[in-house]
């Protein structure tokens, strides 16, 4: 397995925000994660950046000016002057006004955005920002603990260089904000695996939401039921992702690693283990595409930190021991002090094999619509005539010719191409 160069973003301030009493979202989990990463000795294996802070202007690349302006102005002190706006922008309960809210947004968004820039410049193969991944935020409003949608902003940046970006979301909640933002375009394919039904937040994510207009068939939703375990999850994740990549041929992947799909999450009801969650990351990584890896949900702090630390190691191809290293937050990991405690719950797995099979088939059938009109995809994707040329001149990882060939070739050819790329990268890295 070839080593990928990994860039990791962390700002020590990002853990010091607090959504307010009783709120399950705890930015401190990022600090917890970082502490483990550091003490496992993973820090020295990556390029580490204290990230850029996103500006008002950056945020407005997706969001409306008024909304961001509101976020910028409102503070706990003056919040009563904004009652109307609060309702309008859905800021209040799930997304409270807390001290430093805008700074927080600016930190996590800046890191994601910069990750995208680094990928565009090919300064790295994988960019990691555990503070990002706030996938619910909408163009005009906050939602589900998310104010600014760093993912959308990062993908917009990636689209400057990449013709097709694949977004994968393994948060237990539907990645509605990202899906909505790119619902009409074929340049971004969104794939979300989530709990669906019985009023589970946010309520979208039915498998028949497939996109519209030119984006039709470019939204993939895999609705799941409570209690899914590693094996069942993988039985649907792997084939779906494989066929998505096979059919869509993304040039870049954004992976949202919401850790609320782990067992024992405070708000979640899935039953994944840290290993199982990490395997999703491994599967995506094995395709060898440039990757932006983001955080997301995750409300049992200690498990979030475990999960993202483990996934950092996965991305680095490092083996780390089950015994947690000494760190200043060690007591949070009591009583086992291990990386892979048993976090499964008694929640019954309501996903029958048959159900998962049905979903898989339906998804596959849906994806076949892409191959039925591959030429549409190809020509429609870059509206600019020079695009193909640009792409060639561009130091994009995969040469255009090869890419063209692969589109008509069967799927297994694709993997060869990938390995080739890995070798290229090896050469590049050794320099």
């Amino acid at each position: 397995m070839s080593a990928k160069s990994v860039v990791y973003f962390y700002d020590q301030d990002v853990g010091n925000f607090h959504y307010g009493p009783g709120h399950p979202m705890k930015p401190h989990r990022i600090a917890l994660t970082h502490s483990l990463v550091l003490h496992y000795g993973l820090h020295k294996k990556m390029k580490v950046y204290k990230p850029y802070r996103a500006t008002f202007h950056d945020m407005c690349r997706f969001h409306s000016d008024e909304y961001i302006d509101f976020l910028r102005r409102v503070t706990p002190l003056n919040v009563q002057n904004y009652t109307k706006s609060l309702t309008h922008y859905n800021v209040g309960e799930d997304c409270p006004v807390f001290d430093g809210m805008f700074d927080f947004c600016s930190l996590y968004t800046g890191a994601s955005l910069e990750g995208a820039v680094k990928l565009n410049n090919e300064h790295c193969d994988i960019a990691v920002n555990w503070s990002g991944g706030l996938h619910h935020a909408k163009k005009f409003e906050a939602s589900g603990f998310c104010y600014v949608n760093d993912i959308v902003i990062a993908i917009l940046e990636l689209l400057k260089y990449h013709p097709r970006v694949l977004y994968i979301d393994i948060d237990i909640h539907h990645g509605d904000g990202v899906q909505e933002a790119f619902y009409l375009t074929d340049r971004v394919m969104t794939v979300s695996f989530h709990k669906y039904g019985n009023l589970f937040f946010p309520g979208t994510g039915d498998m028949y939401e497939i996109g519209a207009d030119s984006g039709r068939h470019y939204s993939v939703n895999v609705p799941l039921k409570e209690g899914i375990d590693d094996e069942s999850y993988m039985s649907v994740f792997k084939p779906v992702i494989s066929s998505v990549i096979e059919f869509y041929r993304p040039t870049c992947v954004v992976l949202q690693c919401g850790a609320d799909s782990l067992g024992g999450d405070r708000l979640g009801c899935f039953n994944l283990s840290v290993t199982g969650h990490g395997e999703c990351v491994q599967v995506v990584k094995d395709f060898g595409l440039p990757m932006l890896v983001l955080g997301g949900g995750g409300y049992t702090k200690k498990n979030v930190a475990r999960c993202w630390t483990y996934e950092t190691a996965v991305l680095l191809n490092e083996q780390i021991s089950n015994e947690l290293p000494y760190n200043e937050y060690l007591e949070y990991f009591a009583p086992d002090f291990s990386l892979h405690p048993d976090i499964s719950t008694k929640q019954e797995n309501l996903n029958t094999k048959q159900y998962l099979e049905t979903i898989r088939i339906a998804t596959y059938e849906n994806l076949k619509n892409l191959t039925f009109a591959p030429s549409v995809q190809m020509h429609d994707v870059p509206p600019d005539l020079c695009l193909e040329n640009t792409e060639e001149g561009d130091p994009d990882i995969r040469p255009t010719d090869e890419e063209m060939d692969k589109r008509v070739e069967p799927a297994n050819e694709f993997y060869d191409g990938d390995k080739d790329n890995d070798k290229e990268n090896d050469g590049y890295l050794d320099v």
């Binding site: 375009t185 979208t204 049992t300």
Partner: protein
């Protein structure tokens, strides 16, 4: 051990944010407020929605397209009408049909599921069911029943459930069995018009999608976002062996220079040191140069600004008591000297310190006391009173942190491991040989003696900002330990040291010497022996005889303990000393033995 088992089992799951008592205190309040608001605002949200919704109920994809064109006037025939903001309507209409047919080809149960997608989700959502109802709904609504049935079920639901009108929130999705329900159940009120907007469908239109710039663009010579970030470490330019050596060297160096808790080695594992790596990067990956510079740098054990004074700590705790985890309010009204971010950072360190345990226990007591003194509203005063009054009959022993694996993990070399064993022995001693009645205070002494290394252990956990906390928490436990051990000894009124909140160990020793009661004397002697025992372990047989030599050793113990805990009292710990716990191994061992022999001899 028995009492510890008790306190451990009653102590909260370590991952929870708070001790239950404090948490409940806070969240009860919080929840009620939210519920009230909810009920005030709830009524008008769903009355006229139903009609609209039933109309829309039957539409699968069309609904979406209709939304696209005519906001809020969705009707079944809307397929081809209306003007999309940007795209050609004809094409979309066709697309909608094509899509549907394509889909029905794709899966057999399309009809059912599609109707579910629009009607069930929309209706359910717009009925604003809350968490509790969500669970009911889970039982009542199996995903395969047709949409019509579902509607009636929903109506039933709404009738059975008294309060409607709260919209779905992410934070309300806690698991049925999840403990934290008290705060995750908070729900909001969406205003009616917002409810209409937030139909649980992906919305289409200029207000929803990102505008995607056409074509590619390239970065110029000066990349747009590269200016303000900072590279902290780059692994590609150094070989691993060199790097490992460097880090090891850095560690040795910092251990040599370190004072206080930092001086405790953390095991053979070579971990990363952010600052050291950054320095190495700045030195162009030249390890010699980096090490040289590092030597030259006077590395303060921690930034003096980041050390918290005792006043700040106390104010913080008072604030926490008053405002819960509303750090903004705590900052505004209690700890103006710190930013909210610092408070949050501090909180997470504090939470796992012995000080938090003390706080939680106090809180529990206070809750009980409050019914007795309803007029007393000044928590600060009461907090202080309690500290001063000292004797708290049946005061709960602090959670025994030293017994948790964390310490054995931290004290990794043999020397320390032996301490751990000792501690375990001590556990046994106190649980087996001590009777429940008259030994309660002694048990307290044993507890706190063991607690003290726990404090030190927490000290180990701390870096920078929390060192002072740890120091002071150790001080608190020390002071309270001596308090507790002399608790039954009511003749202690003469002893200013115990009455004083900031009594130091030396003071306590003197107090006990001054005290004339036999029990006190015995205790004192035991303490002395224990201290002596640290040096001469075989000595314990003489412990029951109060003689001058043991008195001497008692005072020497006092001094010794004072040395090991150079804390002059809780009140006047200023923003001092990362050196508080300097020889912390020593301190733990000696206090350990102190506690042990005290316990033993009382058992005699």
């Amino acid at each position: 051990m028995a009492e510890h088992a008790g306190s451990e089992s009653s102590s909260p799951d370590t991952d929870r944010d708070f001790d239950p008592s404090a948490e409940q205190l806070i969240n009860d309040f919080d929840d009620e407020r939210t519920l009230e608001e909810e009920e005030n605002l709830s009524d008008n949200s769903c009355s006229n929605e139903l009609d609209d919704l039933t109309k829309e109920g039957e539409m699968p994809m069309e609904a979406l397209l209709a939304m696209y064109r005519v906001q809020n006037s969705a009707n079944e025939g809307a397929e081809g009408s209306g003007g999309g903001p940007s795209q050609s309507t004809d094409r979309e209409g066709d697309g909608g049909d094509a899509d549907r047919s394509g889909m029905s080809a794709g899966s057999a149960d399309e009809d059912q599921d599609t109707s579910r997608s629009s009607s069930e989700s929309e209706i359910l959502e717009n009925q604003d069911l809350t968490l509790d109802k969500e669970i009911i709904a889970r039982d009542l609504l199996s995903s395969n029943s047709p949409a019509d049935d579902r509607e009636t079920t929903i109506n039933d639901l709404l009738h059975t459930v008294a309060s409607t009108g709260t919209a779905r929130l992410l934070r309300s999705n806690s698991q049925p069995g999840s403990e934290a329900s008290s705060d995750s159940e908070e729900d909001v009120d969406y205003s009616p018009e917002e409810d209409k907007e937030s139909k649980k469908m992906i919305q289409v239109g200029h207000d929803y999608q990102a505008s995607i710039p056409e074509g590619f663009s390239h970065y110029g010579d000066a990349p747009a976002y590269e200016n303000e970030d900072r590279l902290l470490w780059n692994p590609s330019k150094i070989d691993w062996e060199k790097l490992e050596n460097y880090l090891r060297e850095v560690k040795v160096q910092s251990l040599a220079n370190a004072a206080g808790v930092a001086s405790i080695p953390t095991g053979s594992h070579v971990e990363d040191d952010e600052q050291a790596l950054y320095l190495l990067l700045q030195c162009g990956h030249n390890t010699e140069e980096a090490l040289r510079r590092r030597k030259m740098q006077v590395i303060l054990p921690s930034d003096p600004m980041s050390l918290w004074s005792e006043d700040e700590c106390v104010n913080f705790e008072t604030g926490l008591r008053l405002y819960g985890k509303n750090f903004y309010q705590i900052q505004q009204y209690k700890v103006r000297t710190r930013s909210v971010g610092e408070l949050v950072q501090f909180y997470y360190m504090w939470k796992k310190s012995a000080r938090h345990d003390a706080f939680a226990n106090k809180n529990r007591l206070e809750k009980r006391k409050y019914t007795l003194h309803p007029g007393v509203t000044d928590y600060m005063d009461r907090f202080l009173n309690e500290q001063e009054s000292g004797a708290l009959p049946g005061s709960l022993p602090g959670r025994d942190r030293s017994a948790s694996p964390i310490n054995s993990m931290m004290y990794s070399d043999h020397h320390k491991r032996s301490i751990t064993h000792l501690r375990q022995d001590l556990d046994e001693v106190s649980s087996t040989t001590l009777g429940p009645v008259d030994l309660q205070p002694i048990g307290g002494s044993g507890t706190s003696a063991r607690h003290t290394p726990g404090g030190a252990g927490d000290g180990l956990l701390g870096v920078g900002a929390d060192q002072c906390v740890v120091g002071s928490s150790a001080a608190t436990t020390c002071a309270s330990s001596s308090k507790r051990s002399f608790e039954p000894d009511t003749a202690l009124d003469s002893s200013g040291g115990v009455g004083m909140r900031g009594s130091d160990l030396n003071g306590n020793t003197e107090d006990s010497e001054a005290a004339s009661e036999p029990v006190a004397k015995k205790l004192k002697v035991d303490v002395g022996e224990g201290g002596g025992g640290a040096e001469q372990p075989a000595d314990s047989s003489s412990s029951s005889l109060p003689n001058s030599s043991s008195t001497t050793s008692s005072s020497s113990t006092g001094t010794k303990l004072l040395d090991t805990f150079p804390i002059t009292g809780v009140t006047n710990i200023d923003s001092i000393s990362s050196t508080i716990l300097k020889p912390s191994e020593l301190s733990s061992s000696s206090s350990e033995k102190w506690g042990q022999s005290a316990a033993e001899s009382v058992g005699i």
